[in-house]
Amino acid sequence: MIDVLARQQLALLPELGFVEQRGFSRMLLQREQPLDQPDKLFAITGPELG
């Protein structure tokens, strides 16, 4: 199981047999800019850990 940023194109994942199970939305309170660098972040740790 892997939680990938939707913007990242990892063609390898469907080739390996990964299918989408569900989606999440990363949200920040009263803020519109990310705290991280999404161009280098491919998969998060998990919704519970950020």
Binding site: L5, A6, L16, G17, Q21, A43, L49
Partner: protein, 272 residues
């Protein structure tokens, strides 16, 4: 521990004669709280709950009824900069009574007093709750799952990047945490260390020709599936190589009816 009266006409005093008790959950209660995430079908293990409770400290709230946890909401603080809300859970028989919203509001107030930026990853159902509270979408995340990754063909594409990918060593964690901090947005050495300890054989690091870190991947066991991540890399080719490395390691430690990925890789790389 304090008794609280939840203002909701939906709570039937005949069905629930005892008051709810709101308090910070204790580390020793991790096993009881695990029931909450299990009921929701989430992936956390007892080790996850222990990690979360130990990390959250005062920023953990729970509601108990008759010595049983019925709701939880936690937040992990990173680098004194931001806090990540998680484990907003309500047991099925207590849902629809405003318990999650109550804990969430209390937690957000508490975190705001601490001067922390507040974030979370919301399910579609959760998003509808968080938006009215002022949470804004930053970017979407897709959860992908594979019963058993098909590695044979992918192995032939291995090592497509120009980086050296190899197992992460515990001695590299401090350097890794320093490299990761500006990319994640805060220092998270303790978390990376804890994840590494959970599944060290799935931890890989990449370095460029100069020996500088250029990416890494970690993984951890779960209630339903092994969770891979974080996966951080300077480009997508390297991210794919790291992913393949960790899946190969994972594959070699789980039962298989076909050739192992180690055997496939050995054939591809003419090692056998």
């Amino acid at each position: 521990m304090k008794d609280v009266k939840i203002s909701s006409a939906k709570i039937n005093p005949e069905r629930w004669p005892k008051p709810l008790q709101q308090r910070q959950p204790r580390l020793a209660e991790a096993e009881q709280l695990l029931a909450l995430s299990r009921q929701a079908g989430w992936n956390q293990t007892l080790a996850d709950w222990r990690l979360l409770l130990a990390s959250a400290g005062d920023n953990a709230l729970s509601l108990w009824h008759d010595e049983r946890p019925v709701a939880s909401a936690l937040a992990l603080s990173y680098g004194g900069r931001f806090a990540w809300i998680c484990m907003v859970l309500v047991t099925p028989d207590w849902r629809g009574q405003g318990l999650a919203t109550r804990l969430l509001r209390l937690l957000v107030e508490q975190l705001s007093r601490q001067g922390l930026i507040v974030g979370l990853d919301a399910t579609p159902a959760g998003r509808a709750v968080y938006q009215p509270l002022g949470f804004r979408d930053i970017y979407p995340i897709r959860r992908l799952i594979a019963a058993r990754p098909i590695l044979a063909d992918a192995a032939r594409q291995a090592l497509s990047s120009q980086h050296c990918v190899r197992p992460l060593q515990a001695t590299e964690l401090i350097e890794l945490a320093a490299w990761d901090a500006p990319l994640f947005g805060a220092e998270r050495y303790a978390l990376l260390q804890a994840l590494y300890a959970r599944l060290p054989h799935c931890a890989y690091i990449a370095r460029n020709a100069s020996g500088d870190i250029s990416g890494y991947v970690l993984g951890r066991d779960g209630q339903n599936a092994t969770q891979l991540g974080p996966l951080v890399a300077t480009d997508s080719a390297l991210a794919s190589d790291l992913l393949l490395a960790t899946l190969t390691a994972l594959n070699s430690t789980t039962p298989s009816t076909g050739p192992s990925i180690a055997q496939v890789l050995a054939q591809v790389l003419n090692l056998s």
